[in-house]
Symmetry: C2
Subunit: 203 residues, 2 copies
Amino acid sequence: MRKVDPERQQAKRRQIIEAAADCFARRGFHATTTAEICAAAGMSPGNLFHYFASKNAIIEAIAEEEWRDTAAYFAAIDRDTPDPLEAVLSFLDVVMVFAADRSYSRLALEVAAETLRNPVVGTSVAAGDAAMRDGLAALLRQAAARGQIDPDLDPAQCAKWIAVLIDGVFSRLALDTGFDPVHEAPMLRRVVSRFLAKPGRGA
Amino acid sequence: MRKVDPERQQAKRRQIIEAAADCFARRGFHATTTAEICAAAGMSPGNLFHYFASKNAIIEAIAEEEWRDTAAYFAAIDRDTPDPLEAVLSFLDVVMVFAADRSYSRLALEVAAETLRNPVVGTSVAAGDAAMRDGLAALLRQAAARGQIDPDLDPAQCAKWIAVLIDGVFSRLALDTGFDPVHEAPMLRRVVSRFLAKPGRGA
């Protein structure tokens, strides 16, 4: 009997996820065949199916990883940061760096489309969205306490509308080829800063 | 030879478009068969194909109609309105009324998805988007001239970011079942008002 090497298992899964993510971004989830994923990952179908039972299982793993990355990002932010508003705005910069990565943004749209069809993907996307909104709301609460933003705003509602803006950026990328995230990143900062600012304070 | 009655032709096309729009919203564009559209419209396939050569031609007509409606909406706004800012905010209220119509918002997502596959749909969506952004930019220019908003903001760029917010609302509807456009409409007004406000002025 072969011994299972967990590290090797993880490396193999990673190799498949990366090859599949690349295929999904280039050709779309539905147009991609498992044969293409095997070719891209350099493995046989039997080998691939040992790690993932189906193409659906791969996109489910991608969505779960995305959720865990988001949760880890917010968990890593210092709870006592002296500049919580800047932590919110820096997160928006990070989002725009990801948005500018065409492969990432196309994959994000494929994952978003699958939420309508695949409840496992839907659950991970919802969990990632909740982690992001909770993380942003916590930072906004601290920013209000430190007098950085308008204390009359509801942190959870502001976090929701920041999420609307982020969703909108990814939609715009699909609809408007002239939308350049690198160029637009300072404007996203400006939109959010002005929205959050205390009346009577410039931004 | 039968005489062609243009009004009757138009009425028939309308009947098909409405039946198809309903099917696309309920089942998705790709899952809908022409047989289902025929059944919903109460006509034979031969009759349907007399008006539209394919299912693609129907969604192209839907996208074109949407573009023309948007252009007509902005063309109808009085150029000398004393309150151009309110005209912008009222448009956002209208968007949220449409967003709250589940059948409309699902159809909008189907049309958006088709822009990636069907260049005719893509052209109409881009034209509708341009009409909206141009209309908003013109109103924002007037609002700046009347001292209603910060004159340091670039009207075209603000219009683009209002478009990002609108895109984001429709994405959120697909991803977040707890997002209620009727409930959120005042917040969209607030986000945009605060973003546009002159520094030093509350909103």
